[in-house]
């Protein structure tokens, strides 16, 4: 009985310590875990691949630093895919906090491509290949307004340029010229895009969401309202895998490198849940 008593009363600090060690060790001594790409991520990849040449992709960066470990790798992987396949790209944000994270992701990925580019044509050029429109509050204004005119909603871009002077924006007027919008979010924005932009203008929507909100978003995939879905760090790792497998994009895979830590941490938590329940059942029977 003493052992059972001890097991059911493990000091929470010991559990924290074990978790930190279990998460840290696979990061220090990296191991490879095979990533199996699931249907929702494959659908999202295909949705980008199927965007017609004349149409653009909008990526809505809507996450703050507290959810960046899950959503940042998605943003990086998406940008690598988009710049490799040269889909016209518009980057926006519905909130102010994500602007810095979006800017950082754009700068780093563009630097990767441009450092290898041989000519101006090969390079990723602002205004021609992508635009960063920044942020216009409140969220419902850009979501509804872009259905009429994108340059009316965003009259100047993130850097202060007039958007109607940007080459890319001359051919992209409103949602009729957008093939897909992907919302990377730690909250409700993917639902707002479905609620307002899709139901009113028929805009195809994809999403990358945190694991904590996954069960909330799955129904939109099954009903066809989402064209694809990435969930948490695992979803990001799957996207890193699919762009490497299909497009030979071999870059840093931050989410894939973290998967062993995620797996071992889950195993530890399962073990503690089982121990706790066994202890509880034995104690209840002995009463």
């Amino acid at each position: 009985m003493k052992i059972i008593d001890r097991l059911t009363k493990i000091d929470r600090r010991i559990i924290y310590l074990i978790l930190i060690v279990v998460v840290a060790l696979p990061l220090i001594v990296p191991s490879v875990e095979k990533v199996r790409v699931m249907a929702p991520v494959e659908k999202l990849f295909n949705a980008i691949e199927n965007i017609p040449e004349e149409k653009a992709l909008i990526i809505d960066f809507d996450y703050a630093p507290q959810t960046a470990p899950e959503l940042d790798p998605m943003g990086f992987a998406l940008l690598r895919h988009v710049f490799k396949t040269r889909v016209k790209l518009i980057v926006i944000s519905l909130y102010v906090q994500p602007l810095g994270l979006a800017q950082k992701a754009l700068t780093e990925v563009i630097e990767e491509y441009n450092s290898e580019a041989q000519t101006h044509e090969d390079s990723i050029v602002y205004g021609r290949d992508y635009v960063f429109l920044g942020w216009v509050p409140p969220p419902i204004i850009p979501i509804l307004g872009m259905g009429e005119s994108i340059t009316n909603v965003y009259q100047v871009d993130y850097y202060g340029n007039r958007t109607d002077t940007l080459e890319l924006m001359r051919s992209i007027k409103n949602y009729n010229d957008v093939g897909l919008l992907i919302s990377l979010s730690g909250g409700n924005p993917p639902k707002w895009w479905v609620q307002f932009a899709q139901s009113k203008f028929g805009l195809p929507i994809g999403a990358g969401v945190t694991a904590v909100s996954a069960s909330e978003f799955y129904p939109y995939l099954q009903s066809g309202q989402f064209s694809g879905l990435m969930i948490g760090m695992k979803g990001a790792a799957e996207y890193e895998e699919i762009i490497e497998r299909e497009l030979n994009i071999k870059r840093e895979r931050k989410a894939s490198e973290a998967l062993p830590s995620l797996t071992y941490a889950h195993l530890v938590i399962i073990v503690f849940i089982v121990i706790g329940n066994i202890g509880y059942l034995i104690k209840r029977r002995s009463k």
Partner: protein
Amino acid sequence: MNISLDPWIWISALLTVSIFSFLYRDNPFYRFAEHIFVGVANGWAVTFYWHNILVPSLFDPLFRRGQLLLIIPFIIGILYLTRFIPRVSWLVRIPIGITMGYYVGASIPADVQAYIIKQTQGTILTSQNFQAWNAGNMGVVWSIILFVGVICTLSYFYFSKEHKGVLGITSRIGIIFVMIGFGAAFGYTVMARISLLIGRLQFLLGDWLGVIH
């Protein structure tokens, strides 16, 4: 090991460690980091909204460029502050009413379309929905499970009749689906929280201590 020499990395690393120290117990380092966070977040938000919303969208056009129509939203906005003056605090209902009216009007048709009609369509047993699972012949089975789950869960939340007979059976099946949903949500929550811990450890071990690359 390649420890960072960047002072900003050191500041964020020490603040992270201070916040983590709460896992042991409450202590002055944790409280210091917490107060810094609250202060910086508030200071940043106030200055950001001042410089990026109020000045360019309201004060500059109204007072410098003479767009006098903006006086109307300016006054409506100011009415929010009347809640601090008990004698005229009822005036706060005006901006709240306008905001609510706008959002409710915009949301109701969109909600019906996006959340009720489309989700109901996704639940109906059609060949299109069978294929949506990407599971071959199993798509039929998954669609039936989804259909049964939705009907039984809805019946669990029907409280106008005692849960006996057929309603008793369907509501008991419904609660099983609800529990499975809670279990899945809990599992995903664990995954999300561990992911955040991984992110912080990648920063501490990589950017700060240089143990990982």
